[in-house]
Symmetry: C2
Subunit: 438 residues, 2 copies
């Protein structure tokens, strides 16, 4: 590839001739001058075309917004503009013309429902907004930190199948697939398979992959397909070991994000990235309900938190402990799946937790029941169809270690980290009940 300079590096090249490539973000013609804002993935810079470059000036007459161009010229200091530099053009090449009428504008902010639908219809134009791309730069840094942390700590990276012969956890909310002459189902989580990895002796595994929920939800927090980060660990003493591990990888993720993108996030979105201190605050569900009761927040459902209760609890923790995260532990069995291990001292409660971040649940985890007989009993208690679970129950027959793990939603974490309006803005392409394109 020919030498090409990114906009973000121009300050280091004052006085030099460079070639930049990108999109015509704004075009202004003024007599025998043209001012073009050129946008690449790293930033936006103004280029100035004068009659010293007659061919370039001629070309800029027909330039449209969002044309893809290659520009060669000299970098000049320009204290009056935000970038601090501009380029005096010697030559200009139009790589690809854009159609003159754009379906949505790159610069415009949208707020109405119709505009939001248009943004999703034309997501590739919407994503050209620098603040939208920033979400995915942040995702990249976050995920790299997670992968590195797990790899360095001796985890095995698995990719479990998304096509399953039977529904993973419950029959409802599962997508059915036509699989040759039979039916298959899309995995609602890698839960059963990462537990299988424990019984395979893999000891610690992580997985990054899509999960599918045929859930008719229309909230800003839900989607029918989203990315999950999952871990599972053997030979734990309790769910506290799993929470400690999550604290460590979240600190690794947030440290990288702050270091590499903290300034850009502050500038673009006005958000301060805070690396949390360890240990994170922890309250039991019982304590959470007491706190919320004292705050006068109505309990909608015993043993579980409504979105409103999650918000209020986080406000309380932030105020009292100065922390953006809080673990809520020991959920009652009534709201937890059959495979969560129960507390020795109170069999109605589970060794489980959720992690809340800035008012939203981003993780569910637990120690799992690894003892075959107890697991079968718990499945029956919950009214599960035990024969259809037999392949899963079999994992625990031939030597299963004590283990636990968690599943985290990076889109929700990113949404809160960057104060985005909706989880849809923290997904490359959102999938919902009524949204399956582009």
């Amino acid at each position: 590839m020919k030498e090409r300079t990114h906009v973000s590096s121009l300050r280091e090249k004052i006085g030099s001739e460079v070639t930049i490539k990108g999109w015509a973000h704004a075009v202004r013609k003024q007599g025998s001058l043209a001012f073009i804002m050129v946008r690449d993935i790293s930033g936006i810079v103004q280029i100035v075309v004068t009659k010293e470059a007659p061919e370039a000036l001629e070309l800029s007459k027909d330039l449209h917004l969002e044309d893809v161009i290659s520009v060669t010229g000299t970098v000049k200091e320009a204290k009056q503009v935000e970038a601090g530099v501009e380029i005096l053009v010697t030559s200009l090449e139009v790589l690809t013309h854009a159609a003159p009428e754009l379906p949505i504008q790159v610069v415009e902010k949208s707020s109405s429902e119709a505009e939001q639908q248009a943004r999703m219809d034309w997501r590739f134009i919407d994503l050209r907004k620098p603040e939208r791309a920033l979400a995915f730069k942040t995702w990249t840094i976050m995920e790299n930190a997670f992968v590195r942390y797990c790899t360095e700590q001796g985890y095995i990276n698995i990719h479990s199948p998304k096509l399953m012969g039977s529904a993973s956890e419950s029959g409802s909310e599962v997508f059915e697939v036509k699989y040759f002459d039979r039916k298959a189902y899309l995995a609602q989580s890698p839960q059963f398979y990462k537990q299988m990895a424990m019984t395979a002796g893999f000891e610690k595994v992580f997985e990054i992959g899509p999960v599918f929920r045929a859930e008719p939800s229309f909230t800003t927090r839900h989607a029918t397909e989203f990315t999950g980060y999952d871990i599972e660990i053997s030979f734990i003493d309790s769910h506290y070991d799993v929470m400690a591990e999550e604290e460590r990888f979240i600190v690794a993720m947030m440290t990288d994000v702050k270091e590499k993108l903290g300034e850009e996030i502050k500038k673009q979105l006005g958000v301060e990235v805070v690396v949390p201190t360890m240990p994170f605050p922890k309250v039991t569900m019982k304590e959470a309900k007491e706190i919320l009761g004292q705050m006068g927040v109505e309990s909608e459902k015993p043993g579980d938190l409504s979105p409103e209760e999650e918000r209020k609890l986080c406000e309380y923790i932030e105020k009292e402990h100065g922390h953006q995260f809080v673990f809520v532990t020991e959920y009652p069995i009534t709201v937890r799946p059959f495979y969560h291990m129960r507390l020795e001292e109170d069999k109605t409660l589970t060794k489980s937790f959720d992690l809340l971040f800035k008012g939203v649940e981003i993780t569910t985890g637990a120690q799992r029941e690894h003892r075959y007989d107890i697991l079968v009993e718990q499945a029956k208690d919950k009214g599960m169809d035990v024969p259809s679970l037999q392949y899963y129950l079999d994992f625990f027959k031939y030597g299963a270690p004590p283990h636990g793990g968690l599943g985290m939603g990076p889109s929700r974490m990113l949404m809160k980290l960057l104060n985005l309006e909706s989880v849809r803005d923290a997904m490359f392409l959102y999938r919902g009940v009524k949204r399956i394109s582009p």
Copy 2:
């Protein structure tokens, strides 16, 4: 978690008391002594139980193969055994009993078709074999290197949806999903979406995720669901820029694998990991056919390579150039999809390539056609249903940069790297026409 030592660290602890946890890999009772081989994810060690530890000796009488145990004792040098150490037990705890009859054995090698099916039925026991787990340790190191390389090089990590409103490339070989009151399809590759990321100005993206192929193939190289590594890059001059990038990330992957697991791979599997030199050998399809002709290999299909031709070509390259990789370039349009860019000098050929590794194709890549009008023409030429492609074609209407990319199969790469019999051994759980469980 209580202090626990992995078997691989025991040599550093000679003379100390340690606790190890793992599976009873072999049990031998001899008078008032018991010898137990304990296996964890890092290795296997012999523990010796004598009458000095009467409770442990009593427990070991009832010990079964694959029971999960925790053992405390003193590490002693033992030159006669491979591990170089053994543990003299002071206490033993059975964490979980295994059922006495195992459906398959951990130690046994299987070769018959029936045995292979049993291995897949009981994959979690099969994966307990250290050489099987090694494949996934290698995968972990390989993938971490890929993610790190891309992140450091400024790629954006995307997770494109696997649920699509219409089939991604062709209507055949696609799985259909019941999506609320309509139909959806599982993505056969992230191709269209990573191209969308280019038109969104993301410039360089990578994706790791599942791809789905409803292909009734029964070879050792095919599966209905597998993991893909994908990249896409903007502002390239040609497909040579994409190949150069693949060389760099493969070198990064192989360097890490050799450094971290080279010795273990040699010991367990007898395979030498070779870090390839750059640039990799490259031959055009025309040259490849000439070489094969001179070797007396029959051409099954003009412009494409049969598995036999791939093997023979790699043998030739290895002999002549001492290289395990070879790029085959410039495939004719007849065997390439409509969106591959054509060569200026010969419109019947494409700016495309495959990468072969030790006899098997592991990558397909190309420069893509980014010019809307030409792309539409090429789709028509190929007899595609243009209206159903319109959402994709629209990506190229509003300013699309020149770009190209590739899709790589890590399971195939791993299969060849470790000389595994089948791609099934390089997948955590294989999915085929007749295999959708566990």
